[in-house]
Symmetry: C2
DNA sequence: TAAGATTGATTACTCAATCTTG
DNA sequence: CAAGATTGAGTAATCAATCTTA
């Protein structure tokens, strides 16, 4: 009867710490490996994949911002850089002239595909190979639940 | 016989995506809540906790940098800000005059303690409450393994 | 010459304010 | 006035180079 329910128990606190530490270390490590291999930065890769998976290789700016978990203005800047690099182009929407699409270029698509092996190798070497099948399944289930809950609670951006 | 072992299987790839998405969303959300409650930013809190848990409330700069997973120069700047805010002080080492300690001040300790309830509430609301006991245990085990492996592989900073 | 830490230059993310169209 | 997106100002993280002491 000492549980006030205002803070997490020890076990979940340990999970939180492991979650933060693993994320920081693994992402840093993969970014480093990808840079050494001449591949795209992770943030650039994420944007290009989101577009590659979208119908017509195009997405509205705000859809893209949600997909990569970046603020609106943060995405504007990132898209500026990707456009300057020739990896995508902006297209003004015809129906709603307020809106803009980001559209993947053939060069952008090719670059994304060329960067995948280095990224895949990084995921494998620094993350995937340390999980057994059951752990991978549990992580997916639990973290998708967490993500889904926060996503729907974050409407008030 | 199609597995080249150069890239992760579907299940582990799904775990990776869930891991990235959950981290980005939850951390953003907790930072926002803490700011609204007048609590410290997460990065500041992490530094103060590391010092609070250290013997004598003091740590060498490079030890602190490892504890919070930040580059050396990144930590120098962060410690500058914390020192300006009166939350810690720097002390030159007596034995090894190259070295410096960061030492928690009473005010820094009090501020860290005062920020914990808002942080705890955030962890509970946006992370812990979505995990059952078995999931929490699995996350801890698996992610500590991942973290330990990357940490030891990252000696070449 | 190497280790510990800081500095300078660069890059990038965030919020708040702004501009345009609905 | 609200929605979509961009811009300006401020803050923060990184790498490479530097300074000091071992």
């Amino acid at each position: 009867m000492t549980d006030t329910s205002r803070e997490p128990d020890e076990a979940r606190l340990a999970a939180w710490r492991a979650f933060l530490n693993a994320h920081a270390a693994v992402v840093r490590r993969i970014e480093r490996d990808m840079a050494a291999a001449g591949a795209l930065p992770l943030g650039w890769y994420d944007v290009l994949v989101a577009l590659a998976e979208a119908p017509g290789h195009r997405l509205r700016m705000h859809e893209l911002a949600d997909a990569v978990v970046l603020s609106r203005s943060g995405l504007t800047r990132l898209v500026d850089r990707l456009e300057a690099a020739g990896l995508l182009v902006r297209e003004r929407s015809a129906e709603d002239k307020r809106g803009a699409f980001a559209v993947l270029t053939p060069h952008g698509h090719a670059t994304q595909i060329a960067s995948w092996p280095a990224y895949a190798q990084g995921i494998l070497d620094h993350f995937a190979r340390y999980l057994d099948d059951a752990e991978a399944a549990t992580l997916t289930t639990a973290l998708e639940r967490v993500y889904g809950a926060v996503g729907s609670a974050s409407q008030g951006q």
